[in-house]
């Protein structure tokens, strides 16, 4: 009995950690692309939230999870397009516009929610998981790690893909140059504004998918402010990872575990105020920041708009 309980606890902890970690992973990977290209994308919270809304709405009306994720990505991209136009093309302050965009999306999705769903409170059916052959039979780990939506495995595969992209492709070189020496990229005949624009759109897409996953799989429903700062956590993870996707994965796992600890502890019947558990990851990251403060390095041109001929 005791052992069974412990197993159930561990399984739900791991399962929850994955579910909570995937949106963060997607958001942070996305943010990393923007940051590499020199755009501090504070609006990512808004992109996630809008992705969550569009993802949920489409999945709800179409009944397809895949379609939901895709439209979540497109929704995030739409918000990213606003940021791109104002910050990358027009050179406006990235922090102020990011905050404004986030506020706007928070307001808009709240309005949409209340006019559409507030009387029916719709929920999605449980997400059809994709059990990995053999792996899903491993006790505890099988049910915890290998019984998820295909998007989860895809997200994890994104990590080596991003590593490869950053390290050994022209796109990676262009992103690095756009963030560290935009003038050099310009002189090499690559459009800096275009590179950064595409980076921001890619961020929007990934964040939007992350938001859709958070709503559709993590919660099974949409409520206003459902992302509750996940985008901001994504920014922090991207900054701490300093351009290395593997570190993003580790960070997302840490946050995922501490977020799922709340539910898992409740399953186990241990009563700890949720606030304490919610504080843990932030406290952990802050500790990391303090310890490794000396070594934090960001792209040189981060947050600065590029104007040809300016030095």
């Amino acid at each position: 009995m005791q052992q069974l309980l412990a197993q159930a606890f561990l399984t739900s902890l791991i399962f929850g950690a994955v579910t909570a970690g995937v949106p963060l992973l997607l958001a942070a990977l996305g943010e990393q692309i923007s940051e590499k290209a020199g755009v501090l994308n504070i609006g990512i919270e808004g992109m996630m939230l809008f992705g969550a809304y569009t993802g949920f709405a489409i999945a709800y009306y179409s009944g397809s999870f895949a379609l939901g994720f895709l439209s979540g990505g497109l929704g995030g991209m739409a918000v990213a397009a606003v940021v791109m136009l104002l910050c990358v093309r027009r050179g406006l302050n990235q922090i102020v516009i990011g905050i404004a965009v986030t506020l706007g999306v928070q307001g808009l999705t709240a309005l949409l929610y209340f006019s559409q769903f507030s009387r029916t409170y719709p929920r999605l059916a449980r997400d059809p998981a994709w059990l990995l052959p053999r792996l899903s039979h491993i006790p505890v780990l099988g049910a915890g790690l290998f019984s998820h939506d295909p998007l989860v495995y895809l997200s994890v595969l994104l990590v080596p893909a991003a590593t490869l992209l950053f390290r050994s492709s022209h796109i990676g070189l262009n992103l690095e140059a756009a963030g560290n020496a935009p003038a050099a990229l310009d002189a090499a005949g690559v459009d800096v504004i275009r590179t950064r624009s595409l980076a921001v759109l890619a961020t929007g897409f990934l964040a939007g998918v992350g938001g859709a996953y958070l709503a559709n799989v993590g919660a099974g429903l949409f409520v206003p402010f459902i992302t509750r700062g996940s985008g901001f956590i994504g920014i922090v993870l991207a900054m701490l990872a300093r351009g290395r996707p593997l570190w993003v994965l580790l960070g997302a796992a840490l946050f995922g575990v501490s977020l799922s600890l709340t539910t898992a502890l409740q399953v186990a019947g241990i009563d700890i105020p949720t606030d304490v558990v919610q504080m843990l990851p932030f406290a952990a990251v802050l500790l990391v920041l303090i310890i490794f403060a000396r070594h934090s390095v960001l792209p040189r041109a981060l947050g600065q708009p590029y104007v040809r001929g300016d030095r």
Binding site: I95, F114, P273, S296
Partner: protein
Amino acid sequence: MTAGIRASSAATLRLMLPAALAVTVGGLILTALGKDPLAYYGYVVKRGLLSWGGLQETLNRMAPLLLIAAGLIVAFRAGLWNLGGDGQFLLAAVVTAALGPALIGVLPRAALLIVCMVAAALTGALWSLIPAVLKARYGVNEVVSSLMMSFLGTSCANLLVKTVLRDASTSVPRTPDLPVDERLPQIFHTHIHAGVLIALVVVVAVHLMITRTAFGLKVQVVGANPAAALHAGLNVGRLTIATFALSASLVGLAGSIEILGVWGTVRADWNPAFGLLVVPVVFLARLNGYAVIALTLCLSALMIGAESAARRTDVQQHYVWVLLALLLIFLAVVEHLHHLRHKRLAL
């Protein structure tokens, strides 16, 4: 002088056009949601500005917004992005709510109020210390660290309200109530509390400090070019920490005054999230204290009107946020067009 008036009226015009556009597009959104925008706007204006009761609420709402704005002006002038406002605000509010009832009978009302406000300001400053020191000593980006502290602070505040500070006599977790007699006095038998006056004085003082004093100029130099500040012999680290602390203590004061003037208690999970809301306002006002007062009045009226409308017309008060975002976006577009026209004229 006339040139100054002309320039400022041109600037006002350039703010009016985006405002009109934002209101129009916002109205279209309302129409799309099946609401009547004219009726809504009419109600909001009537409630937020034209009705006596609403106007009093509007003025009361200005107090925390103005104080946060004052804090942000100080930080932004120094090039510091203090995005930790919510955490600083809530913790300060909780400290106020804890101290206030505990000091009844120990201190007279005036002293109680002052002690509460000072303690709240110190709490805010304390909560900014980690981001400030990390920035000053190691150049760690304060956007991230202050946001983290904000999340931590919010959770901390909630935890305190639910555990140590919880009023045992109520079923909903909240701190013990501060009786109305012990709160901030109201002005001339209205419902407007004295915190509004404090906030107005603080904003003007901050504006004068930035534009007239040596400290203000030093802050501006640090904000515009930290390397030059070091070169000029300014102690950039100390200025960074001092500015951050001042900024956060003003945000903390905002939290305190909101409790001492309006609520008297902090409920669990209460978070008005003013911290980020004020950022665009301060930006729109171009860090000018007087412009901040005017814009905050508009924002407060909108918020109060919209909150009341939410109960009546089924349009959530979050509509204000949409409006604010639209305003910023259109402002950017209008400035862009203005810029293009000037360029063409110059050629």
